[in-house]
């Protein structure tokens, strides 16, 4: 409920996959949802630096949907972490951590999105599965 993990095996070496996340031109392209007309990205790729991605959905909001965050960890080419804030996170700061794992000539990208501020993450990490299982029982 507070954490989700998405994985994908990409047939590209780790350095290129990693670098795409900090390259504004590539970032703007792959962060542009299919429902959006276009996206822009500005990045300050250093720990403590910020990024800003604006997705333009003409039918939703002409001014664009703004996603911003701050880089928490830049460990090329194995790990990248940043905060993620947008209207979809309802004003709450969330944290995205991406692990880039070498799989031969490919890269397994493991993206973890936590809905809690970083200082609270470790304390909150355990114990959710049991609750969700019980609620599933209750609903079913």
């Amino acid at each position: 409920m507070t954490q989700l993990v998405v994985r994908r095996l990409i047939p590209i070496d780790r350095e290129r996959v990693f670098d795409a996340w900090l390259d504004p031109a590539r970032l703007a392209r792959f962060m542009c949802p299919t429902t959006a007309k276009r996206a822009t990205a500005d990045v300050d790729p250093r720990v403590g630096g910020r990024f800003r991605i604006v997705m333009f959905h003409p039918e939703v909001d002409a001014n664009g949907v703004v996603h911003t965050g701050e880089y928490l960890l830049i460990d090329r080419p194995s790990r990248l972490a940043f905060t993620w804030e947008s209207q979809f996170t309802e004003g709450i700061t969330t944290v995205v951590t991406i692990d880039f794992i070498e799989r031969g000539t490919s890269t397994e990208v493991v993206l973890t999105h936590d809905r809690l501020p970083p200082q609270a993450l470790e304390a909150h990490r355990r114990g959710w599965t049991d609750i969700l299982g019980l609620l599933g029982e209750s609903a079913g």
């Binding site: 507070t2 290129r16 590539r26 392209r29 309802e90 709450i92 609750i131 209750s138």
Partner: protein, 117 residues
């Protein structure tokens, strides 16, 4: 749900005793007194945890005579979990797009050639 409420939900669920209380309420309503008997902490301790769950909107209380009955209110949890579904779909399509643009860069395209680094 306003931000404060969602924050309160997460804070409420961060504690193992409060998660255990939710776990018991899943099986049906109970009284504060019955809950207190199940935990190795004082009645006041249990009562404080229940108040946190109430403030988060996870538990509702009704008073019948001297008994305080507690009912689980799963709506805040359901709302919170919708966030996950939104972002699961979002990141899955973004990673697919990332793969597509990187793989495309490797393909020679004489008509739309891009400068390479």
């Amino acid at each position: 749900m306003p931000r404060q409420t969602l924050d309160t939900v997460y804070a409420a669920l961060a504690d193992p005793t409060r998660r255990a209380i939710i776990g018991l309420l899943v099986h049906g309503d109970t009284t504060v007194g019955a809950l207190a008997d199940k935990f190795p902490i004082s009645f006041n301790g249990v009562s404080k945890h229940v108040k946190v769950l109430e403030r988060a909107g996870l538990v509702a209380r009704r008073v019948t005579g001297r008994e305080h009955w507690l009912t689980l209110e799963p709506a805040p949890l359901a709302k919170a979990s919708r966030w996950l579904e939104h972002y699961r779909a979002f990141w899955e399509t973004r990673l697919a797009a990332l793969e597509r643009i990187l793989v495309d860069e490797d393909k020679p395209r004489p008509s739309r050639k891009r400068p390479r680094k």
